[in-house]
Symmetry: C2
Subunit: 283 residues, 2 copies
């Protein structure tokens, strides 16, 4: 059974828009059902135009980045912390017990605060390329943790935009958002509509396409970057394990590598991306 | 019930030392019981002198690094893959069904092969410092994933040794070993016996102590390193979130930072470590 609270007034009375919900199958909680079911969420979220932000900091960052809130799901102790947001947004806020949150979402919600946010139309690659100088291009990165980590490093190390091959996973999937600490809202991204054909758009916009690979024939990344310091650089990264495909490597202008100590196969993709962004940002 | 196989001969007969085990409480499987119980394993492994290596590649790397094998636990399809190891080592090899492996260990063993390995005595910090030029020092890094990731990057980017504050977690804990891809065997490490007092040993060995911090007062890391390229460098890292403590920062010779884009708090510790190792290895 759900009870609408009385209209909010300043002080300790219930905030405006706060609704206590007691039933896990309350249809108003639909945005939050089955959050651990990756396949379900992959289908639903883009189709219904929503994504889930988790934890106070990430929810605030989503708002600051201009995403509209559909609703929030809060356990009692988070209501005071989020009071200013509750008062500002017209969206309904559902107060639930931690047990109910777990029954709805499928997991123990450690951070006690979830928000369902409305997606925005993605920019086109051309729009991003018009103003960016340092671009990340990911090929077939399907691991949500890796996508989040790469966005976080891209934001910290000054990359201007991210382009995704058509088969990359969704940066707004809950785990990516969380691992990125909200950096998926800070670094604009777009999807290339073909691969590797879409790379021509990048080259036509005046970017040099650098492919990151452990291949011995590649040049050390700092050499490649400092030799051509003024250029616009697009750094291509592949998935953990496989790296860039042969056709992506062929489509690149130059192969670059991070110099490795002998006998070690590789860095993980998150570490490699961070080092490469650092090297590119020094150029 | 357990059945000892007949002695191995070349071809498709059972390998020497292979024992099929059917009961989860068979005492010979004791090394593998409760692998997901972190507290239990933290107590048992150092006291009993063992650690667990998981997956073919990591088990082979542990052997190459000179660790003696106590036993292996294999599901059927891994027996052929590991046949050469089974034939070489005197340790017993227990063949189990995937279901039994799960009942014993507490989780689904994706990689199908576990080995219990004998620890070796750790070197002293002084022994490592005698020959190293680039050293990592970790303070209070308690997350096993982060420790593993840092070792992997340290190995790939040419750091020579790792020193741990007394309260760092165990690099040979299963998850650290796995995330490091066996790099915990490749980069020698030791524990400082006091903190931050033990840092004096490092300074006395001729190392400059660089503390990695996002603090604005720190100098950009490439400036610090290239200004003194010939020096022996010890790079101090703190845990995710907290970073280095005030007393660790006070004990350092210089503070270094990774230049960040505006408005981003920080890299995660794994990404920061990788960038810092790369910068130090350029010096």
């Amino acid at each position: 059974m759900a009870t609408a609270s009385s209209p909010g007034t300043p002080g300790d009375s219930p905030a405006r828009g706060l609704v206590t919900v007691d039933e896990p199958d309350d249809p108003r909680l639909r945005d939050y059902t089955g959050l651990t079911d990756v396949e379900l969420r992959r289908r639903r979220e883009p189709a219904e135009g929503l994504f889930i932000a988790e934890g106070e900091k990430v929810i605030r960052r989503a708002r600051q980045a201009g995403y509209a809130m559909r609703s929030m799901l809060l356990s009692a102790k988070w209501i005071d912390v989020m009071r200013d947001v509750i008062d500002e947004v017209p969206a309904p806020v559902y107060a639930v017990s931690p047990e109910l949150a777990e029954r709805v979402t499928g997991y123990h919600v450690h951070r006690g605060a979830l928000a369902s946010m409305q997606r925005k139309p993605l920019p086109t690659p051309g729009e991003l390329l018009a103003t960016a100088r340092r671009v990340v291009i990911m090929e077939s990165v399907n691991d949500h943790t890796n996508i989040g980590a790469i966005f976080r490093s891209a934001a910290a190390l000054g990359m201007d935009a991210v382009l995704l091959s058509p088969d990359c996973a969704d940066p707004l999937y809950r785990r990516s958002v969380k691992v990125s600490m909200g950096a998926v809202f800070a670094v604009p991204y777009a999807r290339l509509d073909s691969w590797p054909g879409g790379l021509e758009t990048v080259r036509d916009a005046g970017f040099e396409l650098l492919a990151l690979t452990p291949d011995e024939k590649a040049v050390p990344i700092d050499t490649a970057v400092t030799a051509d310091g003024a250029a616009r650089v697009a750094l291509m990264l592949g998935a953990e394990g496989d790296g860039l495909t042969a056709r992506a490597l062929r489509a690149a202008d130059e192969w670059v590598r991070i110099p490795m100590a002998h006998g070690v196969d590789s860095l993980n993709v998150g570490a490699a991306a961070a080092v490469a962004f650092y090297a590119v940002s020094r150029g």
